[in-house]
Amino acid sequence: MKLKALEMTQGSAFGSHIGGGFSAMEIMASIYAVAQIPSMEDPGRDRVIVSKGHCTLAYFTALWKKGFLSEEDLACFEADGSSYYAHAFRNLAKGIEFSGGSLGLGVSFAAGVARACKEKNLENRVFVVVGDGELNEGMVWEALMSAGKMKLDNLTVIVDRNGYQVDGPTEEVMDLSPLEKKFEAFGFEACTIDGHSLGELVDALSKRSSSPRAIIAKTIKAHGISFLENNKMSHHCVLSKKKYEQAVQEIKAAYGAE
């Protein structure tokens, strides 16, 4: 996924959301490992809603690994007229449930979906991925309040807690702590885990409880690319050919050539 994502950045002179894409790689991979989606036509499928619309480098490569997106789809990432650009656009046939881009809008949507699924007596789950910067948006808290009130035990919110937003560290721009307690205060069962550990992610994602769940996945922005890690400039940037080669070498060294 990571090598493919790096390749995708090279198709666009406009630049890509590398930081938030690489912080969410393991999150997206493990969600699709846990989510039960026999087909998108299956009404009982788990719903994966990506509110953090700019993590398409992780999201699209996960959809590619699952067979929803093809090599050709990814090859036209950020090409003129393409359906695949910085923010995912709803396309159920391709596994995309939600149009991202404007931050803070996914959790309300997920709460509505979760409520409807419960009404239909479905046993499925609704996963919604949010960024930590995105939690600044007031609408997210309106949505969390309503999820608690509606007792949406089929809803799991996954926070990509990479600690950075455009202007810098989240604690400098808008302090979110104590985040776990905030979720608990809104009626969620919350836990904090290593968001780059597939094992911890899969464990946390597999659990169900009697209330909505929040998984705060602690991550590193631009994880795995040494010169971009925890660097606010990684939020949206262009990788030069040389930097691209370096990033590829680092990923290959960490994970092997595949």
Partner: protein
């Protein structure tokens, strides 16, 4: 469904909210399993208590949170349900404008957005609670149908049509209980098809919503002054029924309880601007300023939107044109 004359009278007494949510909705809900109603702490003022009692599981109160209201509705629509969002027009159209653009415009969910208490309905609550920009905002949302029913019966007919329409609809409702009837009995209504209420060779008054009645009264005053005015009920502002606009009149006039730009007047002038020749257009509505707060009648009078005021503005305009 067809409405008897007695029902039409009852609706006039119940007002738009009472008629739509109190009378029509509980009946429609019997055959429409997919209907869900969401409100932002506005269900009792809207007249939803009867529906809530009959279908508690089909009602969601999200609290005073209009953004989440639209978001949850989109989620329900995504699962095939038919969400109806009810809150004050001012907050629905402005506080959750981006959410409406996102979910209804961009993602194309057929959400019904029922804005209650539009225009100056909320009187002494003041300008924060006036919805005089909502038509302009809703017109800008891709694919949005914008409908301004002129009385309680038309509100019910607009609501029924919206439920059948495959796309998002903004229904701009006004007033409390006791809304004077434009229509004394049932009639044919379709979204996007204007209705000529009165013929007249000199002037055409195009009105929408609360002031359709005012336009008819103004036309009666004009007749005494020797001016023959036709009146068109342009209940749907988007898509605009341009075929109903009479280009053979001396003067066209738009009347709306909205700012005189961006709404009905804006839509008509946009249409006319594409022609090399067309009658002059007089746009009546609120200007680019806050409204001096008072009772409804006072504010409409001060804004030139009483029947007298409308007739007066038209006569003045005609004099200047000679």
């Amino acid at each position: 469904m067809e409405q008897s004359k007695i029902n039409v009278k009852l609706m006039s007494m119940a007002g738009q909210g009472g008629s739509v949510f109190g009378m029509a909705l509980p009946v429609l809900a019997q055959s429409r399993e997919d209907i869900r109603v969401l409100s932002a702490d506005m269900s009792t003022p809207a007249g939803l208590d009867k529906f809530k009692a009959a279908y508690p599981e089909r009602f969601i109160n999200v609290g005073i949170a209009e953004q989440n209201l639209i978001g949850c509705a989109a989620g329900l629509a995504s699962e095939g349900l038919r969400p109806i969002c009810v809150a004050q027009s001012c907050f629905l159209s402005m506080r959750s404008f981006e959410q409406i653009r996102q979910y209804a415009g961009y993602m194309k969910f057929p959400i019904i957005i029922a804005g209650i208490a539009s225009g100056l309905s909320l009187q002494f609550f003041g300008n924060t609670h006036f919805a005089v920009e909502d038509i302009a905002l809703m017109r800008m949302v891709p694919g949005m149908t914008v409908v301004c029913p002129c009385d309680s019966l038309e509100a019910v007919k607009a609501f029924e049509s919206a439920l059948e329409h495959d796309g998002p609809v903004y229904i701009r409702m006004f007033g409390g209980t006791g809304v004077p009837s434009v229509y004394a009995q049932d009639y044919d209504f379709s979204l996007g098809r204007a209705i000529v209420l009165r013929d007249g060779k000199d002037v055409q008054i195009i009105a929408a919503g609360s002031v359709v009645k005012t336009a008819l009264d103004a036309a009666a005053i004009l007749e005494q002054e020797g001016v023959q005015a036709s009146v068109v009920n342009m209940h749907t502002i988007k898509p605009l029924d341009s075929s109903a606009i009479a280009l053979d009149k001396k003067l066209l006039v738009t009347v709306e309880e909205h700012r005189r730009f961006g709404g009905l007047g804006g839509a008509v002038s946009e249409y006319l601007s594409g022609m090399s020749h067309h009658p002059e257009l007089l746009r009546l509505g609120f200007g680019d300023d806050n409204i001096k707060v008072g009772g409804y009648g006072y504010m409409m009078q001060e804004s030139g939107l009483s029947a007298d005021g409308v007739a007066h503005s038209i006569l003045n305009k005609l004099k200047r044109m000679i």
